[in-house]
Every structure is written in structure tokens, then in C-alpha cells.
Amino acid sequence: MSALLASAACGSAGADAASVDPERVGAASGDITWYAINFGPEGFPEQLVAAFEEAHPEINVDFQPAPNNTDTMRATLTTEITGGSSAVDVYNGDLVWPAQFGDAQLAMPLDEHLPDDFWDRYPEERARLTEYDGNHLAAPLYVDSGFLYYRKDLLEKYDLEEPATWQELAESAKRLQDEGEVDFGYVGQWANYEGLTVNWTELSAAAGGRSVSEDGSEAAIDSPENRAVLDFMREMLDSEVVPSATTSFQEQQSLQTFVDGEAAFHRNWSHGWGMANDPLASGIVDKVGVMPMPGFEGGEKKGRSAAGGWNLMVNPHSERIGAVLVFIDWMTGPEAQRLMAENSVLPANEEVLHDEDLQKDNPVLEVAADLDLVARPAQTPRYPQISHGIYTNINGSLAGSSPTANALRAAEDDIRRALEDRAL
């Protein structure tokens, strides 16, 4: 965390206008295309576009929904942009994309076009996660983080506290299972995919471990802290606090299990709150509490939530950069960000994130404003390969194919190869 905070003060120059010739970016009007995976409630991106067009009638935005899979979207964008297409002007990019996209020139560096104080609207560490090679490659659009959802009604009934550590969580979960209240104690995302890297990063950070060294140069996953974490995860499976099906669970399956009332504790992103309290989808409406991720016995006192969310990125081939910059400025400004907060999308804009009136209506927002975040090691263009090295080996070990020590050694090797710039 301190490393994140130390990297500050790039907004001090305080220029109030972009130092770029308007002719080079084109007129701030015309038609632009925005490509994104749907987010927020049904029809929300269209609602944002309508509000934007009202504020800027000189610009028309065509919203194009992307396939609902981050990897598929990346493949599509890579094909389009390397092929020289300007069909998409601006797109939503995953939090972990900037280094890879910057390296492959799939996104346009923004510093040349945006004033230095533009970045002041974000929490410092969030803005820093969009940097690669000294440049901002993306503008944060909305944020997300890991939350622990729990059955408030059951904890009250048995006089159990909100768990301060994962070990307490496992204990309370076991108790509720033994009492016959729930089938499962805890469900998260432990399938063989990026989501497991997220879950792993949170647990590992809580125990004081990490997967890649702080300066990003070395593999650090094979450590005593991480061995304790993986042992703990396997123990949760062995004692059936976590159902064995969890090794094939992504967000959707685990959330479904929780809202069906089958699990006592559940880790998910912010949208878990809305679904758990939706009478049409959930059997546990008004029985749910939300809190930050717990700490780990012998590790950190306070848990850490993984940073997630999406940024706006610009196609380097766009011929409407002037209009795109206006769009980015508005979408990350107070009006659009408030609209997001009111629709259960966590705002990236610091001022809106900390707005107490908005927090009153949305407990997730209140928790979110005061979280200790941990970032995945995405500062290198080889992050996808590093993440694969993490989730495949952890998932294999959880599924019983290799013991803790072997899995972490294999993950260490995979990460080292990635950092040595070897593709396989």
C-alpha cells in the first residue's frame, strides 16, 4: 500500500488545459462509438449516453455492447485495433489492461491530451493503476472491490460477531452448518480463471504475502505466508466449510448459491448486494450484511479487498479524439459518477465516492469508501501470464491434483518465466 501511496504528486503542475493543438485531435463534436461490456442495471450505459448527449448535444455516442467475457473482448479489440480499424473510438478496459495494452499500443497514452490536474479527481492509487511506462493509458470509469457478504440474520441468531479473520469466519461458518442453518459455510470464486487470482490476492495479502515482489521484478509466491494461505484454503475444502464444487465456481455460480440461502458467507464484487436484496432473484432479501474482507490469523489485522473495475481507453486510430476527450471528461466527472453511485455502480471519482448522502442510501458505497485495497501484480505487460501461473496452480491444488508446496513451487516457476519474458 505504501508503495502505491508513495507514487503521488504528478498532478502538481496544475495546468488547466490540455497542451495539445486542437487540430491534431479533431473537433470536439461528431459521432463516436463506445464499446463496453454492459454494466450497472439493465440499460444503464444507454442511460449514461442519453445524459451525456443532453449535456453535449454536439456529440453523438453510439453504445456498442461487448461480449460478456473480458478475454473475448480483449481478443476482439486486439484484432480490430492491430488491423487499423477506427470503428471503435473509446472502449471500457479492465483494470489490469493498461500495461499490456500500452506495451502493444492498443490504447492511446492520454497525458498529452489531458491536463495534469485531470487525475486529481481520483484517489491517487486508483489513478496510478492506469499508468504504464510513465504514461496514463486509461481514465478510471468505475471501481469495484471485494466485499464479504454474510447472513446477518444467522449471525444475530447465534450471537456471532462479524469475523475479524478468515479463521473466525471458518469457525462461525462451521457452527452455522452444524446447526443445520446452511449447507455450506463459505463460497467464493475458486475456478480456474482470473477470478481465482483475485480471491488469492486478497487472502495472500491478508496473511502478509504477495505473488510478485514489490518492485515487480521477482516471483514471490512460494513463501511461508502463502503456504499457510493455501493450506488454509485446502483445509476449508477438506472440512466441507467450502463445497468442493467451488473449484468450478465463478462469480455467477457462487452468488447464486449464496442468494439461494445455501451459504453463510460469500465473497463477491459490489453487484452482490443488489442481487442478494432483489426479491425476484434472492431468497435472503434483507438478511444480508456487507463488510470488508477479513484479516488472517498471524498476518495482517485488517483484511484487504482486491481492486477491480473498468477504465475508459482510447483507440489510437480514432479520428474523433477531440470528442472522445469531452466524453471521458464528462463520464468521469461529478454528474455521470453520481448517476453511477445512484445505480449501485461504484464511482471512481473520489468526491462522489466519499459523498455521505449517497452512502446513506447504499451500504456497499459506505464500506467501499473506506477499504484497504490490494492490487493484482498488473504493472507488467505479462500480467495475464502471471495470473495464469497463479490461478492454474492454485486451482489444481484445490482440486486435489498437487500438494501445497508443489503447487506454489510450480506457480513460482511460471511467474519467473513470465518475468523473464518467456512466452511459455
Binding site: P243, A245, T246, S248, P381, S397
Partner: protein, 322 residues
């Protein structure tokens, strides 16, 4: 009896009758030939552009230093480095082993089941058309869609198959949660989908068999089993070879099932070569090594098919053109 035989022969004789006329070429024939070429050249150019060019480009890419940028791919200079990486990589070797075993396993299962189904269908007098239409449903369904259906049935908590195993044994069985069951569950989904294809090809082969040969075998005292095993099955060989070739080519490139069902997991238990290639190319954006994975897949399946053809000495080409 002889009616069946006449049916199989009539297409054979027609092209042969046509050939002698071609040899004595008139001016008109040549004009038609030129016209024919003129009509087919554009289509052939399209085929060249959309199949041969990408294949050649992939191979070139797998042998070059590749840089990706906003302006596309830049190939600069020859290198064997990508293939060296492949050969040193446990992940690639694992994908090869998995893909080969998976292909052999599923194709054998499909061949046996498909042949049995075809034998049953052959005996049906009424309703065969309906049965075939029904059978073809899984085959006609897009794999990504049917894979989602299977994922739903296999789901560890609310899947119907999981619930059934829980009802039968008391504990829910995890189809996708551990390596071996995940491989077998995926294979089952594959066999369900592609067995009908094999059945229909084999059925077509059965219909074409000269029934007098079987009759002669019966007269000579062969039982139903001997007649099938010693007479009909050998005669079926061309149809079986075609079915196997088609299936091997498809099974070896399997992508959609693991992509939807398991993401290659648990661990790397179900990571096929195609999935590996996709990961390296489109997730890691390593286009050189990714192209090498793709080229190695194509080379392996090509060699495999050639060996298979040679082993069975089937003159598929002859049978095809008759």
C-alpha cells in the same frame, strides 16, 4: 436385391460415359472450359485469400520475431526460438498429451456407439427419417450453446446431474471440480454431440453395401455375428475411415467445450492445444509463440491422419469420386 446394386452403380457409369467425349475437344468445348475457369477463378481467389493465406501467414509468424503495435503485426527476421520454447514447455507437452488422448478416447467411443446406432437405424423400416432428424439435433446445435447446457447440468450446486448423483448415492458428485471426472464429463458432452454424425456416415455406408455379398455369406453358413464382423465391417471400412478422419480433425482442434465448461481446468487438466494457442495468442498477446502452437497442432494432426490412412490403406479418394 439387385435393385440396391443398380443404385450404387448408376452414378459410377455416368462420369465414365462423359469422359470419352471430352477427349475429342471441339472449339466449343474449349470455349466452355475457358468460361468455366473464368467463373471459378474468383471463388478460388477467395479460397486462397481466406484459407491458404492465413495458414501461410501463421506459419511465417511462428518462424519470425513478431512485434504487435497499433499498426498491426511486424515480422522481422527468421527465428526458431518459438518452437524451441514449445519443446521446452511443460505446458505445451501437457496439452499435446491431453489432446492426443482425448482425441483417441472420444473418437473410439463415438465410432463404437455411432456404428451401433447405425445398425439399429438400418433395421428400422418406418420412422427412420424422424429418428435421424432427432439424432441430428445435438449435432446441429452450436457447441458453445450445448456446452452451456452441459455446464448447467454439471454445476456442482444446482446442476441436475449433480442432484441425481446426490439422490442415488447420498453425496453430490463433482463432475467438473476434479481432474479425471472433468476430462470424462467433457468427453461425454463431446460424444453426445458428435456420435450422431458418425452414425449417419456409417448408416450411409451400410446402405451402400452390396446385399448379395452378405446373402452369399449367409448361404455359406455364416451367422449374423460372423457376417457382420467378417463381411460387412470390412466392406464398411471406407465409410468408417471417413468418419474417423472428420472426427479426428475436429476433436484435435477442440476449443469450445473446454473454453465454456472448464476454462482448461481444474489446474491444466483439460487444456487442449487449441485453448493453449488461444491463451498465448489472444490473452498474452504473444503472437509468435501462439502461431507456433497453432502450427504444431496442424502438423501433429496432419501426421496423425497420414499415418492413420496408411495404416488402413483405404483408398478414400477413389471412393469419394465414384
Amino acid at each position: 436385391m439387385s435393385g440396391g446394386r443398380a443404385r450404387t452403380e448408376s452414378p459410377r457409369t455416368e462420369p465414365r460415359r462423359a469422359r470419352p467425349q471430352e477427349s475429342g475437344r471441339s472449339e466449343l468445348d474449349r470455349k466452355f472450359a475457358r468460361l468455366g475457369w473464368a467463373f471459378t477463378v474468383p471463388a478460388m481467389l477467395v479460397v486462397l485469400a481466406v484459407t491458404l493465406f492465413p495458414i501461410a501467414f501463421s506459419v511465417a509468424m511462428s518462424l519470425s520475431h513478431v512485434t504487435v503495435s497499433a499498426d498491426g503485426f511486424e515480422l522481422s527476421g527468421f527465428t526458431g526460438e518459438h518452437y524451441k520454447l514449445l519443446l521446452q514447455s511443460d505446458r505445451w507437452r501437457h496439452a499435446v498429451v491431453f489432446t492426443v488422448l482425448y482425441t483417441i478416447g472420444t473418437v473410439v467411443a463415438e465410432l463404437v456407439l455411432g456404428t451401433l446406432i447405425a445398425l439399429v437405424l438400418e433395421q428400422l423400416s418406418g420412422g427412420r427419417g424422424w429418428m435421424m432428424a432427432l439424432l441430428l439435433l445435438p449435432w446441429a446445435m452450436i457447441t458453445v450453446v450445448s456446452a452451456q447446457l452441459w455446464a448447467y447440468m454439471y454445476n456442482g450446486v444446482y446442476g441436475v446431474l449433480t442432484a441425481m448423483t446426490e439422490g442415488l448415492t447420498g453425496t453430490p458428485f463433482q463432475f467438473l471440480g476434479t481432474p479425471l471426472p472433468a476430462v470424462l464429463s467433457m468427453a461425454a458432452a463431446d460424444v453426445w454431440k458428435t456420435t450422431p454424425f458418425v452414425a449417419i456416415i456409417v448408416l450411409a455406408g451400410l446402405m451402400m453395401l452390396p446385399s448379395d455379398v452378405v446373402e452369399a455369406a449367409r448361404v455359406d453358413g455364416a451367422g449374423a455375428w460372423t457376417a457382420f464382423w467378417k463381411v460387412r465391417l470390412p466392406l464398411l471400412r471406407p465409410a468408417l475411415v471417413i468418419a474417423v478422419l472428420f472426427r479426428v480433425l475436429q476433436a484435435f482442434g477442440i476449443f469450445d467445450l473446454p473454453f465454456v465448461l472448464t476454462g482448461g481446468g481444474p489446474g491444466d487438466a483439460t487444456e487442449s492445444l487449441a485453448l493453449l494457442g488461444w491463451h498465448v495468442m489472444f490473452t498474452n498477446l504473444d503472437f509468435g509463440p501462439g502461431a507456433a502452437v497453432a502450427a504444431s497442432t496442424a502438423a501433429l494432426v496432419l501426421v496423425g491422419c497420414l499415418i492413420f490412412l496408411r495404416a488402413f490403406k483405404a483408398r478414400v479418394g477413389d471412393e469419394e469420386t465414384q
